[in-house]
């Protein structure tokens, strides 16, 4: 029954897209579309939560669509329900935010039709239960998000972003298609349950590589991440929130569904590969983020970092499964899913904030912002909560999932293989480094854009945004706080999925007193979010009260200390680049081949001293530039064949005939 409702909701979303085409241009279109998609996604959400709480048996249904002899299979099981919650939570928030943000959209007719269709695509991917409808909805999701990225197509970089995005998306789909080809065998039984029944050969490692390429390119694993920081900022903010917060989770779902559910038990070195790619992605993602100035590009790169953390959890879980340690595998898998859920919350919140800033000031470059905390109080509080959450600091949800991942790493000495014994601690260090750098990155983001003095007139005249956007942000901020304080409930909600896919699940958390969470056994280690929050609140309140009782309460405003050089210009403040300069000098020389050059004019001349930083994206230079160069070179060389004379074309025909006759003469 739940699956029926979900499919009807998805169909309604598709119909909404068509309605948007009809309504395009009229005044109420934005309000109608976003409210309708809000209610539909809430319907999805409620349906999925009920299914998960009731721990109901998986429902399947077959529609006469799709491949003629296979039909379109759909299935709602625990894994699908969890990811439906993640998808529709982000979607509901984005729709709510869209209500307000959509009013400022310059070309609504290009955004409204594709928005509900994009939501429907994502939901259908999670519900699909056979290779064809899975890939159909997967590509459909990419196609509609490509159309959204191309909404502001007047800017050349948006078009470039759209092109790179759709190219990588189709490359990923082809990889998944090949993986499904392998899984379903030559006679083409594409239904997932048929694939499950055929016990996979143990050595099906090409499937892993292909799925890593396919799902990884959509999630943003490092070598395949180049489209993400281009495409996400190009789309309107609520769409980039969806793409970052939600679409990457659909990619994680695809990886989990194919490797954990369809593939057989993984080999141990599968976990090693996924673990190392995850660790590398985490560090590279945050280092890229530190070098960026555009608000949305920083957030897009930080999505890559969080996806890396999720894949570290998944890699660990695969390693444990390979060595038949179900409890440890359950812990690592829960940590990964929990972090994916958290990331949807705080990343959507941060993208809403970035959208609010770009609407209020019309500017996305941090170097032109500053002092927004005075002019946009509500947004700045929400973004502050988001930044604290994403930097994995205790009272909030980021820390809870990070803590679980660390606990999972601490369980790994039981793994016998030497490769894992070396790589797991190394990746633990990478993870810790990524978390610390993320904190630095978000201090920079919040500090430069919201604190200090406004650097441009635009920032000075910023104003608070509309009611809907603020409510969306407030809801997500409160959710971050709640999940941070009471992580036990979320972990128990994930239990059925973990049981289904790893054979066992974490001890149920809610029965433990004081709502703390215990990874393996109470005796080992536990973390209590609520208590930490209470302690900080109590002691802060107590001190504030005592200080106000005892100490003086008078306050006086005066100019800040300027070391004797009264230069009120806001440029003297630390900018985004100068904040990142120490970290760039520490890490940048290796990772980005950073070269800083300062040209000081000879003494006596009145020339201007110039400071120049040269930063190169090694992944793009070493992987993508050569490929496109090769394609262009081949196209150039082959182009000659278009301008031959008829005689030369006849020679081609003649040679073809002679070769075929030779083949016949020699072989048959």
């Amino acid at each position: 029954m739940a699956l029926g409702i979900s499919l009807w909701c998805a169909a309604a979303l598709l119909a909404l897209g068509v309605l948007a085409v009809v309504l395009a241009g009229q005044r109420p279109a934005t309000a109608v579309i976003y409210t309708a998609s809000l209610f539909l996604t809430l319907g999805f959400l409620a349906n999925a939560i009920l299914h998960l709480i009731a721990n109901a048996a998986p429902e399947t249904t077959i529609l006469p669509l799709g491949l003629p002899w296979v039909g379109a299979h759909f299935r709602l099981d625990a894994l699908a329900a969890v990811f439906l919650i993640v998808v529709n939570l982000g979607a509901a928030g984005a729709s709510l935010y869209g209500l307000g943000y959509g009013q400022h959209e310059i070309s609504p007719s290009r955004v409204l039709p594709f928005y509900p269709v994009f939501l429907a695509g994502m939901n259908l991917v999670v519900l699909a239960d056979d290779a064809f409808s899975f890939l159909l909805s997967w590509e459909f999701m990419s196609l509609s998000s490509w159309a959204l990225v191309m909404a502001h197509h007047r800017l050349p970089e948006n078009r470039h972003a759209g092109f790179v995005y759709i190219l990588m998306a189709s490359f990923g789909t082809l990889a998944l298609l090949l993986a499904f080809g392998l899984l379903s065998g030559p006679d083409g039984n594409y239904a997932f349950d048929a694939i499950r029944s055929v016990s996979q050969a143990q050595g099906a490692w090409p499937v892993l590589i292909l799925v890593l390429i396919g799902a990884g390119s959509k999630a943003g694993l490092v070598p395949l991440h180049v489209w993400l920081p281009l495409a996400h900022p190009a789309a309107p903010s609520h769409v980039s929130a969806l793409m970052s917060g939600v679409m990457t989770k659909v990619a994680v779902y695809a990886f989990v569904r194919i490797i954990f559910d369809l593939g057989g038990t993984p080999d141990w070195w599968w976990g090693l590969i996924v673990l190392s790619i995850g660790g590398g992605t985490a560090v590279m993602g945050v280092l890229y983020a530190l070098m960026e100035r555009d608000l949305k590009r920083v957030l897009a790169y930080s999505t890559i970092e969080n996806v890396g953390i999720v894949f570290v959890g998944l890699g660990l879980s695969m390693a444990f499964q390979a060595n038949a340690l179900p409890d440890a595998a359950a812990l690592a898998f829960t940590a990964a899913l929990f972090h994916a859920f958290n990331h949807t919350l705080f990343k959507s919140l941060l993208f809403f904030g970035a959208g609010a800033v770009s609407t209020a000031t019309g500017e996305r470059n941090m170097e032109h912002l500053g002092g927004l905390i005075h002019r946009m109080p509500v947004t700045s509080i929400a973004v502050l909560v988001g930044c604290v959450a994403i930097s994995a600091l205790p009272p909030l949800n980021g820390f809870a999932s990070e803590w679980l991942t660390f606990q999972a790493i601490l369980l790994s000495p039981e793994l016998p293989q030497w490769g894992l014994k070396i790589m797991v601690p190394a990746n633990g260090a990478l993870l810790a480094l990524a978390a610390a750098l993320a904190a630095a990155c978000f201090i920079r983001l919040f500090g430069v854009s919201f604190l200090g003095r406004p650097r441009t007139r635009l920032a000075e005249q910023a104003h608070e945004i509309d009611f809907w956007s603020r409510t969306a942000m407030a809801i997500f901020a409160i959710l971050c706080l709640l999940v941070g304080a009471l992580p036990g409930f979320v972990i128990d909600a994930l239990a059925p999925v973990v049981q289904e896919l790893t054979g066992s699940h974490m001890p149920s958390q809610t029965i433990i007193d004081w709502f703390s969470i215990v990874p393996i056994a109470a005796s080992r280690s536990s973390y209590n979010g609520l208590l930490v929050l209470l302690f900080i609140a109590l002691s802060a309140g107590l001190t504030a009260y005592l200080v106000h009782l005892v100490a003086s309460k008078s306050v006086r405003r005066s100019a800040p200390w300027d070391c004797g050089f009264p230069d009120p210009s806001p440029i003297t403040q630390y900018s985004a680049d100068s904040f990142a300069q120490p970290i760039r000098r520490v890490f940048g020389t290796i990772v980005f081949r950073v070269r800083e050059s300062v040209t000081i004019p000879p003494p006596g001349s009145l020339g201007v001293a110039r400071f120049h930083v040269e930063l190169r994206d090694l992944v793009w230079d070493s992987l993508y530039a050569p490929i496109s160069g090769a394609v262009n070179a081949a196209a150039e060389r082959l182009n000659v064949l278009q301008f031959l004379t008829i005689r030369r074309y006849l020679t081609l025909v003649f040679l073809a005939l002679v070769t075929l006759l030779l083949v016949l003469a020699i072989w048959s």
Partner: protein, 318 residues
């Protein structure tokens, strides 16, 4: 009856920590002055400074927002909670089961996060210098700390500080190479985190060299008092952390009576004295490094921590 004793012990620990922190800072300043052949301020000078600051008027920058005024309370609260959770004289107190080492370090991370933001709120370049360098130092110190926690957790089997302290007390761990590496790494991280001499000079106000002081340059009055108290609490935290893990003797074991607590307090005071003097001697014997030599310094700590963790992963006995 037991609950009251438990509550009293926990309350005592919180008060003890609060009271001893300025004393430790005073002691270090006194010993350093003595080593430099100066009389140095009296031991209780930090208390008098705090009281003086409490009474003074808080001067705020023109551009400071509500965050600037809220941060001192948040920083102090977070640091005080973290310091209270680290066992000083007894291991098994009322809230010790929530004293997870990763949580404590992360609490310090939150304090540093808000302090850096406060530094940037004022809108002058000094705050920016402080926050930016603090972020760089933290980006290396925190992973090193996590690696140290991995070593301790792998040896003791849990990340809970009271269990680790209990395990160390029982000397079941014995002498291990990874423990030695972890100790050196922890000392290096403690020096960097508390902005002691080789990384940053706590006493200086020379704009271009200071890190921690630059962030709190604009604070005054009661806010500065809270920040100073939080800084000394943090120093005390690291000292008691090193004490309870690497020098556990004198800690009152599980549910022991009042006399064990008294012995515990005395041992703790002795440890504070030794660490204070050792730190003062170390600081006077070494000069401050250039800012961009700090990554090498902390990189060493991270490598030592990682090596220790690797050894634990590779074989049970190392």
């Amino acid at each position: 009856m037991v609950l009251i004793r438990e509550l009293a012990a926990q309350g005592a620990q919180m008060m003890l920590v609060l009271l001893l922190a300025p004393l430790l800072t005073g002691l270090i300043r006194k010993v350093k002055a003595r080593l430099l052949r100066r009389r140095g301020p009296p031991l209780i000078q930090p208390y008098r400074d705090l009281i003086r600051l409490m009474r003074k008027e808080a001067v705020l920058a023109v551009n400071a927002s509500w965050l600037f005024r809220a941060v001192p309370y948040l920083v102090f609260a977070a640091t005080w909670v973290a310091a209270a959770l680290v066992p000083t004289f007894a291991t098994d107190l009322l809230f010790s089961w929530s004293a997870d080492l990763i949580a404590i370090i992360a609490l310090l991370g939150s304090a540093r996060f808000f302090l850096a933001l406060a530094g940037m709120d004022v809108g002058t370049s000094f705050g920016g210098i402080g926050s930016s360098r603090e972020a760089m130092i933290a980006s290396l110190a925190e992973p090193a700390m996590i690696m140290i926690i991995f070593v301790l957790a792998l040896i003791a089997g849990s990340t809970q500080l009271s269990i680790i302290a209990e395990f160390m007390l029982s000397l079941a761990a014995g002498l291990r190479v990874s423990l030695g590496l972890a100790l050196i790494a922890l000392i290096l991280v403690a020096i960097a985190e508390n902005s002691r001499i080789p990384v940053d000079n706590p006493a200086t106000h020379l704009e271009l060299t200071m890190v921690h002081e630059a962030m709190v340059l604009e604070y005054s009055g009661r806010h500065l008092a809270l920040i100073e108290l939080a800084a000394s609490l943090k120093l005390l935290l690291y000292v008691s952390l090193i004490g309870c893990v690497f020098v556990p003797w004198g800690l009152a074991p599980m549910d022991s009576g009042w006399n064990a607590y008294v012995v515990g307090v005395l041992a703790y005071l002795a440890k504070l004295l030794c660490f204070g003097v050792a730190l003062a001697i170390f600081e006077t014997s070494i000069a401050k490094m250039r800012v961009f030599r700090v990554p090498a310094f902390l990189g060493a700590a991270l490598m030592l921590g990682l090596l220790g963790a690797l050894l634990r992963f590779v074989s049970g006995s190392l």
